[in-house]
């Protein structure tokens, strides 16, 4: 804080010279652009989505076809041609991908984080960390192709009646994709646990296993939890892998029923891509439904990001 004041004092005489003014306003505009971006996203999604619902369309001065808000939020059939917009069919598929990828990514990610922070030698760490970064760096459309061409045929050996497009393969690749996210954030939290706590554990005669599971993990719990939420939010917003691998037929499936993972369905993001690749005209009902789904998606991921941020801040143990 004091250095800030010092710098302000040292530069006070020159701060309104034309050159300083010009450069400072440029930098300020750059920073303000992020706020403009957010406002445009929110504004655009709300105005376009409100033209979609019969409840709000008159306010926007839009005549013509609209959809019922309650039907949209509770309906379980998504059929563009018969004008049935039940977003629950899409949300159920998104939930399935989220559950499925969570089952893979959360345990593996935390185990990776424990290994990297507690067990791995510096040499192993310097090899494993870039390798894990590669997992997150592969384009998602490539993951989708892998799921469709290599993983689904492999799964067919175990489950003979699995569909060409299925939620299982999509969940597996999305899970692999988000492992690095869980691992790196959790590892940061575990590395932040002070060594004194570990040494106190060893002093009591605890083994490395006891220290890892009994001291480090509980102490880093808030960071681990926040990494879970962030990774799941990423899985929800994941687009190309599910578009390629999960299928094109909207279906309402029960996310808790393991058998339904062998079928294909249409997650929210994939539905948006499908709407755009089909020939919809600007201004039509289908075009506006795009923004309605976008709004739901944006709100869900925003809430999850905020929760994750809140958990990381509020429950962080300060040493």
């Amino acid at each position: 804080m004091s250095t800030d004041d010092l710098e302000a004092d040292l530069t006070r005489n020159t701060e309104n010279a034309p050159r300083e003014l010009l450069t400072r306003s440029f930098f300020f505009l750059c920073a303000a652009l992020s706020v403009v971006t957010t406002l445009s996203i929110v504004g655009l999604l709300i105005t376009e989505a409100s033209k979609f619902f019969s409840l709000t369309a008159p306010l926007m001065g839009v005549a013509g076809e609209t959809a019922n808000l309650v039907d949209f939020l509770t309906g379980t059939t998504w059929q563009i041609h018969s004008k049935e917009f039940g977003v629950m069919a899409l949300i159920s598929a998104t939930l399935m991908v989220t559950f499925g990828s969570a089952i893979i990514a959360l345990p593996l990610g935390v185990a990776t984080a424990i290994y990297l922070s507690e067990y791995a030698s510096p040499q192993a760490r310097s090899l494993l960390k870039p390798a894990l970064e590669i997992l997150a760096g592969v384009p998602t459309v490539v993951y989708g192709f892998f799921a469709l061409i290599y993983i689904t045929p492999a799964l067919r050996v175990v489950f003979p009646d699995i569909g060409t497009f299925n939620m299982l393969s999509a969940s597996i690749v999305v899970g692999i994709m988000i492992i690095p996210m869980v691992a790196s954030i959790s590892e940061d939290a575990m590395s932040a646990v002070p060594d004194e706590l570990r040494q106190a554990g060893y002093g009591m005669g605890a083994t490395k296993f006891d220290v890892s599971t009994g001291i480090v993990v509980p102490a880093a719990l808030s960071g681990i939890f926040s990494s879970f939420i962030l990774a799941l939010s990423r899985a929800i917003g994941e687009t190309m892998a599910v578009t390629v691998a999960a299928g094109a037929q909207a279906k309402f499936l029960n996310p808790l029923n393991p058998a339904s993972y062998l079928e294909g369905a249409l997650p929210m993001t994939a539905a948006m891509v499908q709407l755009l690749t089909g020939d919809i005209t600007g201004g039509g009902l289908a075009y506006r439904s795009l923004f309605a789904i976008g709004l739901v998606l944006f709100v869900i991921t925003l809430i999850m990001n905020i929760i994750s941020d809140f958990v990381a801040r509020r429950y962080r143990e300060v040493y």
Binding site: A17, A31, G144
Partner: protein, 542 residues
Amino acid sequence: MATEQDSSYAQGFGQVSRTAGLIFRYLLLAATMFGIVTLAVLLVYVANDAIQPLTADAGWHLTFFLTLVLPTILVGGALYRRNREALKLGGMVVGALLVSLMFSGGVAIVFIDIIPPLTGFSYAVGLVVAVAGTVLLTKYERQIPFTARVAATGLLFFLSLFGVPGYFHSIPELVQKAPVVPTDWIILTLVLGGVTALVVGQYIARVREDNKAGLAAGASALVLTALGAIVGPLVGIDANALVVVTAVSFVPTAAYAGGSVITREELKPGLVFAATVIVGALVGAVAVDALGFAGPQAWTDWQFLTSSHSGSAENAGLYPAIGGSILLMVTVAALSFPLGVGAAVYLEEYAPDNRFTRFIDVNISNLAGVPSVVYGLLGLGVFVTYLGQATGTVLIGGATLALLILPIVIISSREAIRSVPNDMRQASYGMGATRWQTVRNVVLPEAFPGILTGTILALGRAIGETAPLIMIGAPNVLFNLPTELSSKVSAMPLQVYAWSSLFASEDFYTKAVPAGVVVLLAVLLAMNSIAIVLRNKYESET
């Protein structure tokens, strides 16, 4: 009860079972390896589909084993035992050659096919004139007030690059209308070779601490580049292409190898390793040709890289998509780099600690979590619907992707700026520097490698994005290279998506798509390795 427990503790003391710990440890290791191994297996599958190494003659494999693999293992093994640093340099030289070859391919597409050499040259001349004028203006820094100088510089650039239609010809126009214009290869030699000569000359002058040596190195770089145009037709390679490859790949790699050896004599054996690999590969290629051994029937081949989409998977190619990806990258970099760095500088150096700053802060981390498909909607809604731009052009594709990676660029640039020690800033202020002078002369140069690393990684993210491009209406099939900011654009991942969904067939699944995936991953790998090398160099220096 209590005594029983005590005795059980006493018995267990000293012989703690290690089984649970060991099992746990190996379980953790297995969990860590799961994702990596799965991806590795998938990559082997896709590479096998794309390159089909098993379709080559046995003699082909044997020849390359004898000329390339065996010598590399022998020389590499000997170096590994004696001089590991030299081996590292050798590996770096080979890697630099591969990466720069790939990069020079991109440069060749831009400067031969997208921008006709003459147009590029005319704008280069205009730019040189404008920059020369600006330098002249800075000589009179004290006499002319700052605002007048900025206005004059702006006017100078505008007049020399665009002119005033009807009154005043711009310099590019004048150059294009000149009665005698240089041929394409001379232009490429002057422009690309000139830039290379400048960089190489400065680099050599720095490592040799001798300006004359730098001048000589720069001159020989220019001569070598020109030589490319003369040698090219003799060996059956297009003169223009060879000039670009020489200027962008061969000369810089040679300069890097030479420069490293000058500074550290003991690394010289590393060059032997690099020579073994390069000569081995060349000899092998000549030998299999002479002996008539057929190579693998790879789908990722020259035909695939240079032709456009086709209804049959055998003839389909990636060329327009590669060109589109390059143009998108240039646009994204040009937009996101200044904006992202500017925002980072504001937040780290200027921003007062108030509510608005904290709001921007939270806002940026939330923007980083917004799904890419929503950014696509933003591009569609704002650029296409509200601003009335045509769908799927290079400009709106680039702008959408730039907005997408902006939060990542800002966050990594902030980290780089934050790692500049405060003492350096205060030393600068103590010398009477203003805030902008401190930012320009101290903070940005110090933070530059870190900023560059973060930007390259973010660009790597942008090059793999598909969903935003679909949302803004980029066409699934494009037969011509985009040449302007307003032409329709395709991109490598978009083409891969189109092949694996719209043209879904066994043929495309096993031929065109794996080939496209391999190209896309190779480009990403090259970009990431540049970033990692930069980061390691930067971290070891500080």
